[in-house]
């Protein structure tokens, strides 16, 4: 027993001596899959660096950064006024880097001819003010609203850009993943839903709905002209340097951006 303990202890010591530098990343659950994949690939290339990633919300990430508990804060939104004030009063200089874009697209069943809706129409459909497809130029059938669980990042974008303060009607079907939204909408002619851009392709029986004539696409998401897109940030204290700079550089490199598109987000530049 003692022997095992000794070996365990020794190997732990050896490991900690080996992994000399540590990067702590805390923040948004939306950015979490990107940060995790980056950390994994980065640690494979740099075994002497230990990157730990925690996803507990953008606000908590920024708070951890300002408390000196994190090296990088993941955030799916820009810092709030109070956060910036608090940073300045503590002598911090928050430095944001856009690491990817998050874009979502409304979808309907392919059997439904509606292919275009305005943001206001979408809001009213989700609020429950518009309840029949005939009110928006479709066939006479009721609208079945499919939404995401209210703590998901995708819902966050929808709430921010489409609902704009209004509440999604309580009667909306609520599912827990992009894949389930697709399953619900592809199985129901009356349904409308929304998914991350990465899930749009290769999904049979669903059709994208353009927003006032504009379809979700990577270029529009990048340029900011597509209304349902947002940048995702990693925020550091001051201009990043040393290992932290290396890590972010890796993320912005073609291999890091390839990971971004693999986990369903829009990379900040074209990667092959």
């Amino acid at each position: 027993m003692k022997k095992i303990l000794f070996v365990l202890l020794a190997s732990m010591l050896a490991f900690s001596a080996f992994a000399s530098t540590k990067i702590v990343i805390v923040g948004s659950t939306t950015v979490l899959p990107i940060a995790q994949q980056w950390a994994q690939s980065y640690m494979q290339l740099n075994p002497d660096v230990n990157v730990s990633v925690v996803g507990n919300g953008s606000g908590n990430g920024i708070k951890a950064l300002l408390d000196g508990l994190a090296d990088i804060a993941d955030s799916s939104r820009w810092m709030s006024e109070t956060e910036i004030k608090s940073a300045i009063s503590k002598g911090f200089f928050p430095f944001p880097v856009v690491v990817a874009y998050d874009a979502i697209a409304p979808i309907v069943n392919s059997g439904n001819p509606v292919r275009n809706l305005s943001l206001d129409q979408l809001q009213e459909i989700y609020e429950g003010k518009i309840t029949n497809w005939s009110q928006v130029g479709g066939p006479d059938m009721s609208i079945v609203v499919v939404t995401r669980d209210n703590s998901s990042g995708t819902f966050e974008v929808w709430a921010e850009k489409v609902m704009r303060g209004a509440l999604v009607k309580p009667g909306a079907l609520t599912v827990a993943s992009n894949a389930e939204v697709i399953r619900s909408v592809s199985g129901n002619k009356r349904a409308i839903g929304y998914v991350g851009l990465g899930y749009l392709e290769s999904s049979p029986n669903i059709s994208e709905v353009a927003i006032s004539g504009m379809k979700a696409n990577i270029e529009a998401a990048r340029s900011g002209t597509y209304p349902l897109a947002r940048p995702l940030f990693m925020i550091t204290n001051g201009v990043p340097s040393g290992t932290i700079a290396q890590f972010i550089d890796f993320g912005l490199s073609p291999s890091g951006q390839k990971i971004v598109s693999e986990v369903g987000f829009v990379p900040i530049y074209e990667v092959k």
Binding site: D149, N150, E156, A159, L167, T174, K189, R190
Partner: protein, 289 residues
């Protein structure tokens, strides 16, 4: 040797009691801070569940309502089916079929619930929509049917045990008085099963309350007060499953989810307690009689 075994058993008994107490404590400990943000009245009687809206709403009444609806409907389907199945196995089926059925039930009860959820979502839901022209097939009825399928084996085998253990003297007595097989069953065996049936119902109910995956996938999860069984509904357990993963730690939303857990725990505990009490009472009665 016996001493050691005794000790091991008593230690594991105490450990499991300690774990239950710790779980209870943990649930309540993480729930209490919610009351800084929302009062217990808001939590229990609030009609809106919008934990991430601004301002947020933490009312679980629609979730509680849906849980009761779905569980009630499931029991309504499960119980008669289990009863018929149990009678069939004990009295009607030929020996070989009986054997086969018992094995089948045992296997069926161990089918992972996610598979039934998938069947409900990809077969039953579109069927409801196309054949009955429902707005959505992800609704209470679908969830109740799928839940029944996974619940039925448990009460069936319990009922079957009770029926086959029914005292042969009483049966023979009835037959001696000229009752045929059917009359013995309806006049003697079934009336004698009231006690155990109530406790079986309670135990099944406990299982239904806790089942998460099927309801999450099939019930549609709309936090409304359903007015018919063709509407979607959201239950307590699936709310935790859908939201816990991405909820920031130590926020009111997080505390509220623990609150839901505590409520669910209390309900299951009470139901099982009632079930056990009924069972023990019945057994005492049997001893006396």
């Amino acid at each position: 040797m016996k001493n050691i075994i005794d000790r091991v058993i008593s230690v594991s008994g105490w450990v499991s009691i300690a774990i239950i107490v710790a779980i209870t404590f943990f649930l309540f400990y993480n729930w209490i801070p919610l009351f800084k943000t929302a009062s217990p009245i808001e939590f229990f009687f609030g009609t809106l569940w919008y934990p991430t809206a601004i301002p947020p709403f933490y009312g679980i009444l629609p979730l509680l309502d849906a849980t009761i609806w779905i569980s009630f409907l499931t029991i309504l389907i499960t119980f008669p089916s289990a009863f018929v199945l149990a009678i069939f196995i004990t009295h009607v089926a030929p020996k070989r079929l009986r054997y086969f059925l018992k094995i089948f039930l045992e296997i069926f009860s161990s089918v992972p619930s996610v598979i039934l959820g998938l069947i409900g979502l990809s077969i039953v839901a579109p069927y409801f929509q196309n054949v009955f022209n429902m707005d959505t097939g992800q609704n209470i009825l679908n969830a109740a049917i799928m839940l029944s399928l996974i619940t039925i084996p448990m009460p069936t085998s319990m009922m079957e045990d009770f029926i086959s253990a029914f005292s042969p003297e009483q049966k023979e007595g009835a037959q001696a008085l000229g009752a045929n097989e059917f009359e013995t069953l309806t006049k003697v065996v079934i009336p004698g099963l009231k006690g155990p049936f109530a406790s079986i119902a309670m135990l099944s109910l406990g299982r239904i309350f806790g089942e998460t995956m099927i309801v999450l996938m099939v019930a549609g999860n709309a936090a409304i007060f359903p007015s018919s069984i063709f509407q979607p509904a959201r239950v307590l357990s699936s709310t935790i499953a859908a939201e816990m993963g991405e909820t920031p730690v130590n926020t009111p939303h997080f505390y509220a989810l623990f609150g839901i857990g505590a409520v669910l725990f209390a309900m299951t505990f009470l139901i099982n307690l009632v079930g056990e009490v009924i069972r023990i009472r019945y057994e005492r009665q049997m001893m006396k009689g």
